[in-house]
């Protein structure tokens, strides 16, 4: 009874909050001061054609470092909790063989998925997407690999090495920005180049390659741990 009443009261209160938001909503017709600054001076200051990337990697770069740290901690937690026990072959749960459709398609699709993922994070400063999205696409390629052949084992030395050196490289680039340019994760210690070219926007592509590799390896490690 009390539980029901609590739920009802919570729902009513939520309804009141949302009603307030709907009633007072008026679509904004102009950018606010901060967004205008990002949009107007972002391309000149940082040389990134994709404003979202300029904000995510440079203006709010510390937040992105925090996000990467959160992802790292959750991947480490999954790895710790789901430690692989040495299971007897006989006790192993019998696996259904994977579908022939997946097994055949993977030969064609896996290289394409990896190329797409790498393309997304290398071109993060030019086109939509970036390190997180590219890394997630890489991990979905690994997922397809695990689905096609459930006995696949990732090489943990390579995964660990890639993951930790990418994280280390990210922080090193940030510190280089602190020493050589205006502040932590400032991308301007490398020549900004021409707006819209692949090698432009200073250190943003380098940071996004690190982020992409880190996110990709972490999500792949989580998937592999969850699998068996």
């Amino acid at each position: 009874m009390i539980k029901r009443a609590t739920i009802l009261i919570t729902l009513v209160l939520l309804g009141v909050i949302f009603l307030q938001m709907v009633v007072t909503y008026s679509p904004s017709t102009a950018l606010n001061q901060l967004s205008r600054h990002y949009v107007v001076s972002g391309p000149d200051e940082l040389g990134a054609a994709n404003i979202v990337t300029a904000v995510v990697v440079t203006y709010r770069g510390l937040d992105t470092l925090g996000e990467v740290a959160v992802l790292f901690i959750s991947a480490a937690g999954v790895g710790l909790l789901l430690q692989r026990k040495a299971v007897d072959e006989a006790e192993k749960r019998p696996r259904r063989p994977s579908s022939e459709l997946v097994g055949t398609a993977i030969h064609f699709l896996l290289p394409l998925i990896f190329v797409l993922g790498i393309y997304i994070f290398i071109n993060g400063h030019l086109t939509p997407g970036g390190g997180f999205q590219g890394g997630a696409v890489l991990a979905s390629g690994i997922m397809l690999l695990l689905l096609a052949d459930p006995d696949t084992r990732l090489n943990h030395h390579i995964v660990e090495w890639l993951e930790s050196s990418a994280g280390f490289g990210y922080v090193v680039v940030g510190v280089l920005g602190l020493i050589l340019a205006g502040g932590f994760l400032d991308n301007r210690f490398i020549d900004l180049g021409t707006l819209g070219e692949l090698f432009s926007a200073g250190a943003i592509p380098i940071i996004y390659v690190f982020v992409g590799l880190k996110v990709g390896t972490e999500l792949s490690a989580v998937l592999e741990r969850m699998k068996d």
């Binding site: 939509p128 970036g130 999205q133 997630a136 969850m226």
Partner: protein
Amino acid sequence: MMLLLLSTVLCAGIIISALLAVHLGNVVSAAISAGMASLFAAIIYLVLAAPDVAMTEAAIGSGLTTVIFLYAIRRTTEPPDK
């Protein structure tokens, strides 16, 4: 007008698949419905001109999360034929 219609349909899709995810008895179907809700959200982000968010939502929300749910369901339920 077209945009409004499309957004309405997609929002209805999100709500319906979220309700299905809550009410379906079978956990596997519920996990897939949750993935569907994410997929509709990804499309609506794309329609509303946020391709960066749409990519993240499609890859993580509807792809990886669904598979992680399915793996978790398999680990926590008894094998059917044993």
